[in-house]
């Protein structure tokens, strides 16, 4: 899933933009001017801020306890008391959906951070230093790339399963770990090719001629110019990671109850699909909206950094 989408996006993103679009303005400020004018950017940012607030302080949105089951009212349709109705256990779906944001956002953000750190480091090592280091890093990347994200996730999560007593952060940490382990290769590949395109530029050669240390060249010349495609793809990947987490939970091996998450909620709702489809609707809707927000943000940022798409 990730590999494929990343390649699609990577190919769409095309070459990292070299040079400045306008005289006197840096690439970043030029991109920012473009972004500010793009309504899609503002819609996605609003959605993302909303979800982050939801994840941080769910109490702002609801004062119902998501773990309070009213079995008598199980499967109730949406009504004034429970806005989204109640699920098969009699949980308030609205409260569950609000509280479910935390797991998905946490998993998405943490996984993206870890994959970017590993991917960028590996990509710079391979792209900047080249030679045997490049061969070594590229082959290691290929090894992990050859195992599809979902497949690796299923294997790992069944090797180290959760039980009811697992602490919340441990459960989330495991999902983050496995997705990071199998998610970084696409970032590394992208970063490597991006660095390879930046490296021959005159300003890099000039810095080297002036005696700058490799670390300084990488930090202040290569990185700022090679990072744009990685930022775009990582933003979109964040949405993909949220989906994969939900898929693992759907298969019963990602997050597991009592953890409250959209994936778990969707998985629980399937039993009652024929009679009470609203139980499935709301968590799916929120999950899709979150994924959509990150994809749209990535799209908007790519368009802003890519003068060709204007």
């Amino acid at each position: 899933m990730t590999e494929a989408s990343t390649i699609a996006v990577g190919a769409e993103a095309g070459a990292p933009t070299g040079g400045q679009a306008d005289e006197g303005r840096s690439l970043a400020s030029d991109a920012w001017r473009q972004l500010k004018r793009n309504p899609i950017f503002w819609v996605s940012v609003t959605l993302i801020v909303l979800f982050i607030v939801m994840a941080a302080v769910p109490q702002l949105f609801t004062n119902v306890d998501p773990n309070a089951a009213v079995l008598k009212q199980a499967r109730e349709r949406p009504n004034a008391n429970a806005w989204f109705g109640r699920d098969i256990q009699g949980y308030d779906i609205y409260a569950r959906t609000i509280y479910g944001a935390r797991a998905s956002i946490l998993v998405g953000v943490l996984t993206t951070l870890v994959t970017v750190v590993i991917g960028v480091t590996m990509g710079v090592l391979a792209g900047y230093y080249g030679g045997w280091l490049d061969s070594l890093v590229s082959r290691i990347t290929d090894m992990f790339f050859a195992i599809p994200l979902l497949l690796g996730g299923i294997l790992f999560m069944s090797t180290f399963p959760n039980d009811e007593n697992s602490r919340y952060l441990v459960v989330v940490g495991k999902v983050v770990l496995v997705m990071a382990v199998f998610g970084w290769p696409s970032i590394a590949r992208l970063m490597r090719s991006s660095v390879l395109q930046v490296k021959p530029n005159d300003y890099v050669q000039a810095a080297r001629a002036l005696g700058a240390s490799p670390w300084r060249i990488i930090r202040s010349h290569v990185m700022p110019n090679a990072l744009a495609p990685v930022i775009v793809v990582s933003t979109i990947n964040l949405g993909v990671f949220i989906t994969v987490e939900a898929t693992l939970s759907f298969l019963g091996i990602g997050l597991t109850p009592p953890a409250v998450s959209w994936g778990v909620a969707i998985s629980d709702a399937l039993v009652a699909l024929r009679t009470t489809p609203h139980i499935l609707l709301f968590p799916s809707l929120f999950l899709s909206l979150a994924v959509l927000a990150f994809i749209m943000l990535g799209d908007a940022v790519r368009d802003a950094f890519d003068p060709k798409s204007r």
Binding site: E3, A146, T247, I295
Partner: protein
């Protein structure tokens, strides 16, 4: 060309070894006692457990077991699982089903994806373009298992156009709905990719020249614009193969298809490491070979890319 293929094949060896070792190490760390449930309701006698562990080499250190396994693999032996079924036989039975499913998904991807992408690309900014962009965005954001169960419910149960589950008899007709579900996200990606590239190429100088010289629109689109625009799409579809194999686990579970994905998932559930390692090894091998083929195809489609 042959040098290139040879070099790629040689590069594939460490990758395959590494990937299978990662899987091997992970699977054999699977918790639980494989003899549970083999002797009815009672725990197995100690003598049986000892013999069982010895027979399946469970007492050897990990690297020894790995090397033995790879040695057997070279002779086409994927091992016998704990239920005394040869993994090769099982896979031989199930592979055609998953291959059929994946091939149909790819067919949907290429046909629907490219047509939608071309329609959107040549009418950039018009209604159909926006329709394609919005609907693909929708398909990409909804997780595949939600699409799967929703379509199964709608077209399998509510309006029974297609059978809701596939079961043991996987005919093309029965696989239509699952294949569509499996390919859905990729259809959307392929459409967007085609559109982006077509829009970019339509502005290229060589096409402006072609228009200026009075070339007919179908010829310009079909021969000049599309051929160049489809190169990234071909790469994408090839690379997506791995994703399809992973996604097949979910799709086969929803639609009860007796394919490789289902076998893998049962293997994991039943703590059957031999089946799991065998299945995944073959999946990774297929994935690597498909990627190599795509890279070679790349050179055929675009003569500027040479592998010499």
């Amino acid at each position: 060309m042959y040098k290139y293929i040879l070099r790629r094949l040689i590069q594939m060896i460490p990758v395959l070894l590494g990937a299978t070792f990662i899987i091997f190490a992970m699977v054999y760390a699977l918790p639980g006692d494989p003899t549970i449930g083999l002797c009815g309701e009672r725990p197995c006698p100690a003598a049986f457990v000892a013999e069982f562990r010895d027979k399946h080499g469970l007492n050897d250190p990990l690297h020894v077991r790995y090397l033995t396994y790879m040695g057997n693999l070279l002779q086409g032996d994927l091992g016998t699982n704990f239920r005394d079924i040869k993994v090769v036989d099982e896979l031989a039975q199930r592979y055609p089903v998953t291959t059929k499913l994946a091939a149909m998904a790819i067919l949907f991807e290429t046909v629907i994806g490219i047509i939608a992408g071309v329609l959107a690309g040549i009418r950039k900014g018009k209604f159909i373009d926006n329709l394609v962009l919005v609907s693909t965005l929708f398909v990409i954001s909804v997780p595949v298992f939600v699409i799967g169960v929703s379509l199964q419910y709608s077209f399998g149960l509510k309006w029974p156009i297609f059978p809701a589950t596939v079961g043991s008899d996987a005919t093309v007709y029965r696989l239509v709905l699952p294949a569509f579900v499996l390919g859905s996200a990729s259809i959307a990606y392929a459409a967007r990719l085609t559109r982006t590239n077509l829009v970019e190429n339509l502005r290229a100088d060589y096409l402006r020249t072609a228009i200026a010289k009075g070339m007919s629109r179908p010829r310009m689109l079909g021969v000049h614009a599309l051929r160049n625009s489809l190169i990234p799409v071909v790469t994408f579809i090839g690379a997506d193969f791995g994703g399809l194999l992973g996604g097949a686990i979910v799709t086969e579970r929803i639609f009860n298809i007796q394919g490789v994905g289902g076998f893998l998932f049962t293997g994991i559930r039943n703590r059957d490491p031999v089946s799991v390692v065998g299945t995944v090894t073959i999946l990774v091998l297929v994935f690597l070979v498909v990627n190599l083929l795509v890279d070679l195809l790349y050179g055929v489609l675009d003569p500027r890319i040479s592998h010499d």
